[in-house]
Symmetry: C2
Subunit: 501 residues, 2 copies
C-alpha cells in the first residue's frame, strides 16, 4: 500500500500551520517541506538515490528534522548516529551501515574521522551544494524502510534496527488514538533525535498536523519554561523528569499540559507519586527501537489508578507474556514480553541470524520481563538481556565487559545496572583481578573512558574474589543485583556468593 508522503501532504493540507519551533524561529509545514525538498535535491546531487543510507552525526537541530523528511522524498534511508559514541564505536557502526554520505556538524566532524567515506558538514558545506533536478517522491510505500537505527555499539556485533514507513505510521496513529491529537498541540522534543523516542515525535507531528518545539539538549529550566509557554505534550525519561521537578519545586504545572510520556525503562514509584502531587499527567510507556517507540502506554484516565503500569498496547498491536516453558502466563505471572503488530520492525540490517532469533511464530521476543495484572495492564519488571538504562541511554553489559576484559589485570568481570533515583540506573562493574596483578578503580575507569561513550563508563567498580555462576558456568547477574542492594542497605548478602575483596 502507498500513502502520500506525510510532510508533502501537510504542506498542501495545512501549509500555514506551525510545524517546528527552534529557539526564536518557527517553520510552517510549507516552509519545512520546502527545506526538505531543497535538501533532498542537494543530497541527490551527491549521488544519493533510492535505498542509499544517509548517516547523520548531528545533535538536535533543524537540519536533522529536515533530513528525516528529505530522505522520504528520495526513497533513501536515514541512519541517525548517537553523537555520544567514541570514534571507534562510530567507525564500527558506519562500516556496518555503509552510507553514501555522512552529515556532520562542526562538533562531530572529528568523531567520524576514522571513516573514509563522504562527510559533509550541514552548516557550511551542505547549504552550498547545488540542487540536482530529480523527481521527488510524493508518496511512500508502507513496506519500505525509512530508518536504520543502531541500538548498540558493541565492538563485534553492531545491531541496526530497520523501521519502515508503516512502522512509523502505525506508531503515530496508535499514539494519537490513545492520547488524542489537536491541531494546536505542541510537543516538546528534548530527547535526542538519534533515539527512536525523539525521532518518532517528528512523524507524530506531520501525521497529526501539530508543532514540535525542538530543544538542542535537555535543560530542566528551559523545559519547564516551554511548558509554561504552551507545550501540551512532552516525552521524557525518568532522569529528565526528576530534574524538572527539582527545578520547579512545588508549583503545579499548567492545565494545558495534556500528557507527559515517560519512557526509558520502569520509573521509580516515588518519582511517579511526586508527579501526581504537582498535577503532572505522567503516563508511563513501554517501547523499543524495534517498535518505532511506544508499544504500550497508559490511557490518560488510568494515570492514577494504574500508577507504575505501562498500560495496554496501542492500537492495533498485541502483547503477551510467555513463561520459560513456552506457555502463556496468567495474570500476575512474570515472563518474557512478546509483541506483534504493524509497529514491529521487519528485522535487523544485514543480520538475518539476529532477525530469525528475534521472532518466534511472528511474535517479537523482546527479552524484557514483565507481567499483566488481572485487567490486562502491563508492568515491566526488567529490561532485556540485562540491559542497563541510564538517563534514557541503553547500555549493554556485554559491551562494557568486553572493554574491561581487555585490561591486562582483569580476569573476570560482570556489569550490571544499580538503582539510582536520578539516572534510573547507574553502570556498576564487578571485577575479579588476575592472580598477582593489581589495578585501581581509577585506572579501570580511565581505561574505559578512552574506549566507551561516557554514559557507558562504570560509575562504580567493585573488586570481588569470584562471580556468582550457575553449575554450568552461566553468570547470575540477578545475584549481583541482590548482593548490591544488601550492601547498600547494610544487610549481609543472603546469597553468600559475593565476597568483596
Amino acid at each position: 500500500m502507498r500513502l502520500p508522503e506525510w510532510l508533502a501532504w501537510r504542506a498542501v493540507a495545512t501549509p500555514e500551520r506551525t510545524a517546528l519551533i527552534w529557539r526564536q524561529r518557527a517553520w510552517t509545514f510549507a516552509e519545512l517541506a520546502q527545506d526538505a525538498d531543497r535538501m533532498a535535491r542537494q543530497l541527490a546531487g551527491l549521488g544519493v538515490g533510492p535505498g542509499d543510507r544517509i548517516a547523520a552525526c548531528l545533535s538536535n537541530r533543524p537540519e536533522l528534522v529536515v533530513l528525516a523528511h528529505a530522505v522520504s522524498r528520495l526513497g533513501a534511508v536515514l541512519v541517525p548516529l548517537n553523537i555520544r559514541l567514541t570514534p571507534q564505536e562510530l567507525f564500527i557502526v558506519l562500516s556496518d551501515a555503509d552510507p553514501r554520505v555522512v552529515l556532520v556538524e562542526a562538533a562531530t566532524r572529528q568523531a567520524v574521522g576514522l571513516w573514509a567515506g563522504t562527510v559533509v558538514e550541514v552548516e557550511s558545506e551542505l547549504v552550498q551544494l547545488p540542487e540536482a533536478m530529480v523527481d521527488l517522491r510524493r508518496d511512500v510505500e508502507v513496506e519500505a524502510v525509512h530508518t536504520l537505527i543502531y541500538t548498540s555499539g558493541t565492538t563485534d556485533r553492531p545491531k541496526g534496527v530497520l523501521l519502515t514507513y508503516g512502522n512509523h505510521w502505525w506508531s503515530a496513529v496508535g499514539s494519537h488514538l490513545n492520547l488524542g491529537v489537536l491541531p494546536d498541540d505542541r510537543w516538546l522534543l528534548c530527547l535526542p533525535l538519534f533515539h527512536v523516542g525523539g525521532l518518532s515525535i517528528l512523524f507524530r507531528s506531520v501525521i497529526g498536523g501539530f508543532a514540535v518545539e525542538l530543544h538542542e539538549r535537555f535543560d530542566a529550566a528551559l523545559a519547564n519554561a516551554a511548558i509554561e509557554r504552551g507545550v501540551t505534550l512532552v516525552s521524557l525519561v525518568g532522569t529528565m523528569l526528576w530534574r524538572m521537578l527539582e527545578e520547579r519545586g512545588e508549583r503545579c504545572y499548567p492545565a494545558h499540559l495534556r500528557a507527559v510520556l515517560l519512557g526509558g525503562g520502569p520509573a521509580p514509584r516515588p518519582l511517579l507519586e511526586r508527579c501526581v502531587a504537582v498535577g503532572l499527567p505522567v503516563l508511563q510507556t513501554y517501547g523499543l527501537t524495534e517498535t518505532a517507540s511506544q508499544l504500550a502506554t497508559l490511557a490518560p484516565e488510568d494515570a492514577l489508578r494504574k500508577l507504575g503500569s505501562a498500560g495496554k498496547p496501542l492500537y492495533p498491536n498485541a502483547l503477551r507474556i510467555v513463561l520459560p516453558d513456552g506457555k502463556i502466563a496468567g495474570p500476575g505471572e512474570p515472563g518474557e514480553i512478546e509483541i506483534q503488530g504493524p509497529v514491529v520492525t521487519p528485522g535487523y540490517w544485514r543480520r538475518p541470524d539476529l532477525t530469525a532469533r528475534a521472532f518466534s511464530d511472528g511474535w517479537l521476543r523482546t527479552g524484557d520481563i514483565g507481567y499483566l495484572d488481572e485487567e490486562g495492564y502491563l508492568y515491566v519488571l526488567d529490561r532485556r538481556d540485562d540491559l542497563i538504562v541510564t538517563g534514557g541511554e541503553n547500555v549493554f553489559p556485554a559491551e562494557v565487559e568486553a572493554v574491561l576484559l581487555g585490561h591486562p589485570a582483569v580476569a573476570e568481570v560482570a556489569v550490571i545496572g544499580i538503582p539510582d533515583v536520578e539516572w534510573g540506573q547507574r553502570v556498576a562493574a564487578f571485577v575479579v583481578l588476575r592472580g598477582g596483578m593489581r589495578a585501581t578503580e581509577k585506572e579501570l575507569v580511565a581505561w574505559c573512558r578512552t574506549r566507551l561513550a561516557g554514559y557507558k563508563v562504570p560509575r562504580v567498580i567493585q573488586f570481588v574474589e569470584q562471580l556468582p555462576r550457575t553449575a554450568s558456568g552461566k553468570l547470575q547477574r540477578w545475584l549481583l543485583r541482590q548482593a548490591w542492594e544488601c550492601t547498600v542497605h547494610g544487610r549481609t548478602s543472603g546469597t553468600g556468593e559475593l565476597h568483596q575483596v
Copy 2:
C-alpha cells in the same frame, strides 16, 4: 490486512470510558461491547452468518448502535433502511438486499409489511431470543464489507453502496487527523443513523475512543441544550443548523464546541456568515455515501478564510476536477469531481454495470460539479445527476418524475431543486399536461404523497406548455433552474423556452 475489531478493542483498552449517551442513560465501551456480543449471539441464533445481510428499519435508538457493532462480530453486513420510505419503496430495497432478517420497531413494522422474510421487533422480540454459543470475531478484514447503504429508492433501479471496514477505518482516521480527537470529546449524533453521515460517527467514536450523544430525531432546542451541556463536535445539514440558530438567537456558542461539520450539499453563504457571527466553528464538508461520509472538509484554521469551500481531501485521499473533454481542469475551472483513495466504495451491490460505469482509471466519477481555487480548495457547485438535497435527504429527480408520469393527465415532467434558505433545496416539478386533460396542483401532490416518501413530494408544481430540451431531445434542467430564479426575481426568463400556462 486484519485489524482488531474496534469496539472489542475499546472494551479492553478503555473499558470504563463513556461510549454512548441516550436520554438519561449512558453506556461504557465495555457495556456497549457486551450488548453487541449478546445481540450478535441472538442474531446467530436466527441463522445469521458471515456475509448475510441484516436490514434495520429503525429510527435512531441504542439498538441500532449495538447492531452496527454486532454485525462485525459475526462478519454479517448491516443494511440500514431509510424509515421515511413508503412500503413499496422499502419492498424494492429489501428485495434487492435480500437480507436474512429485518429488525424493526413497533412504528416501522407495517412499513416492511410487503416483504415476506423474517421480521423481528427489537424491543419485544429480539431481546427474548436465546443466544447461540458461536465464536465471535475479534478482528476484521479491511477488505470485507460492513455496510450496504441504499442511496436511492427509485422504483426500477435500487442502488446499494458497499462499504468495507477499510472504508470506515480510513474515513474515521482521516477525520481525526483533520479535526483532532480527544478522549473526552462528545459527538452529537442527530442525523439519521440510516445515512452514512450519521452512521460514520459511530466508527469515529469507537476508533477514537470518545462518546456519542444520540438523539432520536433532530430537535433544535435539544441540540442547542446538548452543546451547552458539553458536546464538543456535531454533524449537521444546513436545515438543522438554520433552525438551531433561529432557536438560540444571538447568543454565542460555548468555547468547548470544537467543530460543527456541515454536510448535505453546498450551504448558502448567508447561513455560514451567520454562524461566524455567533462564534459557531462551522466547517463545510463534501462527502458521498460512496466515500463513507466526509471526503473533503475544511481544516479548522481555514473556516473563516475559505468560507463556502469544502476544503481539501482528508488523508490519504485525492480529488481532481475533470473537464468534459477528459482534461484536468485548471484553478477556477468547473468540472466533474473525481475521487480516489481508501474511503472509496469497492462498488454497488449486485450491479457490476453501475460499478463499471462509476469508475474511470481507478477514479470514482461523482457526477458532482465543482472547482478548485488557486490554493487547491474545493468549491462544490452542483450535486450529481441533478440530485436534489432537501433537509439533508437526497432526492433523485427521475424517481419523482416516474411517479408523476404515472398520472393519466401528465404528458411530460421535469423535476428540479429550487433554492430554499431553510431546506437548502425544495423539490419542484414542471408539468406538461396531455392535450385536453386537466389536473390541479393539489391532485398531483396527493398522487405523489401515496407513492413517495414525504420528503420527495414536490413542494411546487408549475404547469408549462413545453420543457426546454436540446436538439437531440435531452432535458435541460439548468434552464429550468435559471427560469425559476428569473420568475422569483421578477425578471423575464432570458431563455424564452419556458412558458407558464
